[in-house]
Symmetry: C2
């Protein structure tokens, strides 16, 4: 029995909604740090439940479609891709929660220095999440490749942040506890970009039927 397109549209909608919620969680977690807004940090932590619910619902819907509709070809690929994508989205949200948790701690201590690269990383990471899901919905291979390329920017920014923090710690040992927490936040953002890259690779696989997950960038 073919999957009716209304069912696939419904699945797409659920994923879009989940992705929008995840993107907002990243944004708010970093805002709670930059604006030292602990109330907002707590809200990010609380709202993770919503994202977990999306994850479970989409997973159930995919298994239901596989079982009842026994889809073939393109539809089958779309559904197995959806199952993988939501796992990554859910873990991106977990990283946003981790950022909010560190923000709560950092907001209790004096500001180490104004945050410049962290918001920049966050903006790139949010764009990667948004575009990778758009690439999925529209089967846009080029956009997915573009997301993968942006991962290097986040990696470079992360390296810059870590180096700077190590320098600050070496100069003034009283900064160690705060600097380590900020370095975690940088790492969480890097991981969010990695998950977006994973999604983008899965999308290309879906479109091309070609596994690029373990290829080098110049092979893609």
């Amino acid at each position: 029995m073919p999957v009716r397109s209304v069912e696939l549209e419904h699945l797409k909608e659920m994923i879009l909604k989940m992705a929008m919620t995840v993107e907002a969680a990243i944004k708010d977690s970093v805002r709670s740090l930059v604006e030292r807004d602990s109330e907002l940090a707590r809200r990010v932590i609380d709202e993770d439940r919503k994202i977990n619910t999306f994850d479970v619902q989409i997973d159930e819907e995919c298994v239901r479609l596989l079982a009842l509709k026994q889809p073939m070809g393109k539809d089958l690929r779309f559904i197995t891709t959806a199952m993988k994508i939501t796992t990554d989205l859910e873990r991106i949200a977990d990283n946003a929660v981790n950022i909010a948790e560190r923000a709560l701690e950092l907001n209790e201590e004096p500001l180490l220095k104004p945050y410049i690269d962290i918001p920049k990383m966050s903006r790139i990471a949010q764009g990667m999440v948004r575009d990778t899901i758009d690439a999925f919905i529209n089967e846009d291979k080029q956009l997915a490749k573009d997301v993968i390329m942006r991962d290097d920017e986040v990696d470079d920014l992360n390296e810059t942040v870590i180096k700077e923090l190590m320098f600050i710690m070496t100069q003034d040992p009283s900064t160690v506890s705060r600097a380590v927490k900020i370095s975690y936040i940088s790492k969480y953002l890097e991981r969010i970009a990695d998950h977006s890259t994973n999604i983008a690779e899965t999308v290309i696989y879906m479109v091309e039927g070609k596994i690029i997950r373990h290829m080098l960038p110049d092979q893609i």
Copy 2:
């Protein structure tokens, strides 16, 4: 058409082999650090290709079985679970590579202090990977729950390691660069334990048909 049991057995074998290779990668990556064996570290990095190949092959086999056999009920759950599990196994291996990369750097510098908690974390994490896959193959819900409980031990050890490293950095700023690298290794091991927990949760879901992914420990 039902999936022939010989095909499921073959799939199980592939996953077992992949898991054994991943377990060895964790063990060797930490050994390359503790024994300051950079040759071994490079081998871990090289052999990641093998694990990536397993990942692709298992994924392809799962999609093939879904397409050609259109499995129902238990078999369908088993195959979708297998697809999720290998993603986690592959990412565990990525963390082992990250450990080996940090080991290569640390082996070039004087030893900061003998490693005690890191090997302990590694042993627990390896056991978690092994048991979580055994739980999957034997549909052993109890073993999967047991793995989830062990995650706290790794989290606690990670916290101990990080606190100790922060103390060392505060006392002697010349240790910052090494201490930060060691703290990453501790984090990578913690993430390996998290991935094993994810697998265990997926296994319980497969056995019980109940999503425990987002439940609190006392609800499990």
